[in-house]
Subunit: 210 residues, 2 copies
DNA sequence: TCTCTTTCGCTACGAGTCGTAGCGTAACTG
DNA sequence: CAGTTACGCTACGACTCGTAGCGAAAGAGA
């Protein structure tokens, strides 16, 4: 789960300064805001955090790994409050995700690390566990809640249920990311409402016809 | 529409070597395959294309602009053959788009230039006209065809029709990109079929309720 | 044909970044 | 106290960047 380079396994010796981790990750996010992904340098981050550049390289393998950790912390905020109905829950998660993507540090970092991950399998795995899975939980939780409400039928086949969840997740996350970053149009309440209507209609059709 | 730096406006003088453009763009795509976005250097591209590095800088402002042009050419291949039904048309465009995203050169380049564009407005505009709009045409053509078949109702309000097309486009393109690049799962015929079922159901619900 | 203009390949350059190595010092363990 | 590890600092070679300057090549117009 950690993309940090672990401290030496052997016992004894000076422990790592935990406060430095916090300062480094916070400085990374601030540097992303000020400079964007491509102009961000590890030397700059180190100077902002008040640590030596070598300390950074002792803890992270490179720029991508550091930025993944810095951005992943922001995804901890994601939650799924019960808004009473599946439609309201979907709108809520869409707007929450959009708010996260509205931040300049996530905007520039998220696409960049995904681009890097296309030719770096370990990095992709880190992104999956640190970022993607945290979003996916919301989809699974939302479905479970809707099934308990009776808004969605229970799915006996676990494999099919997994495929459906994967599909829904790609549709939600993909649409929001594309709207926010590629089309560069606002993900406001009206858009979220239109999108939710579309998705709910599709769900009804897809579940009635396996 | 051109992201290239235009040749000098004044008449006369030695004309630009048009073959060099072809060689440069082709070399750029090959370098993307071999090196990926982050390790691609303009000096390397120039060497592969058999031109001087300075020639590259005379025609393109930087790495992002060059890669956008190199990748945009691939999106010319996109077409929308009439497969007889809206469902078949959607599946066709999804699989076609997925095939494009399956290429290593588009995989690594597309996300990277979008990431850059989050802090570079002119670049975003170039991406929109060179790449995004070429995909969007397919959505508009598909809807028009479906309306002529009677599969979709005509939309009297042009503003609402535009919003709907934008939404559909973000859903299709976003879902395919997310599936292919973030989830890193194959966009095969089965997935395309499931996705099409979902989208068609949503369309039916969304158009019945304005 | 001669002149003007622009592009081309080539070389060279200062500036900046990268990731690492070496050193002395600080911090914690047994 | 001795042993071990993390830290800050400096310095380094290698690389990339984007630009400048040069002479030669390739067309347009007189």
């Amino acid at each position: 789960m950690q993309s940090r380079i672990p401290p030496s396994a052997r016992t004894g010796g000076r422990p790592r300064n935990a406060a430095a981790d916090t300062a480094i990750l916070e400085s990374t996010r601030q540097a992303l805001v000020d400079l964007g992904w491509s102009k961000l340098t590890l030397g700059d981050v180190a100077a902002r955090a008040g640590v030596a550049k070598t300390t950074l390289y002792r803890r992270w393998a490179g720029k991508s790994e550091l930025v993944v950790d810095a951005v992943a912390e922001l995804f901890d905020e994601l939650e799924l409050p019960d808004r009473g109905s599946l439609a309201a829950d979907i709108e809520g998660v869409v707007l929450q995700f959009a708010a996260l993507l509205g931040r300049p540090e996530t905007k520039t970092a998220l696409m960049a690390v995904v681009a890097e991950s296309t030719s770096d399998e370990p990095l992709r795995e880190r992104i999956r566990t640190s970022i993607v899975d945290r979003q996916k939980r919301l989809v699974l939780a939302g479905r479970k809640r809707a099934q308990e409400r009776g808004e969605l039928p229970p799915e006996p086949d676990p494999a099919a249920a997994g495929h459906t969840a994967d599909l829904i997740f790609d549709v939600i996350a993909g649409a929001v990311v594309h709207r926010a970053l590629v089309s560069a149009e606002p993900v406001d309440e009206e858009w979220a409402h239109r999108f939710t209507l579309l998705l709910l209609g599709g769900l009804a059709a897809a579940t009635s016809r396996p």
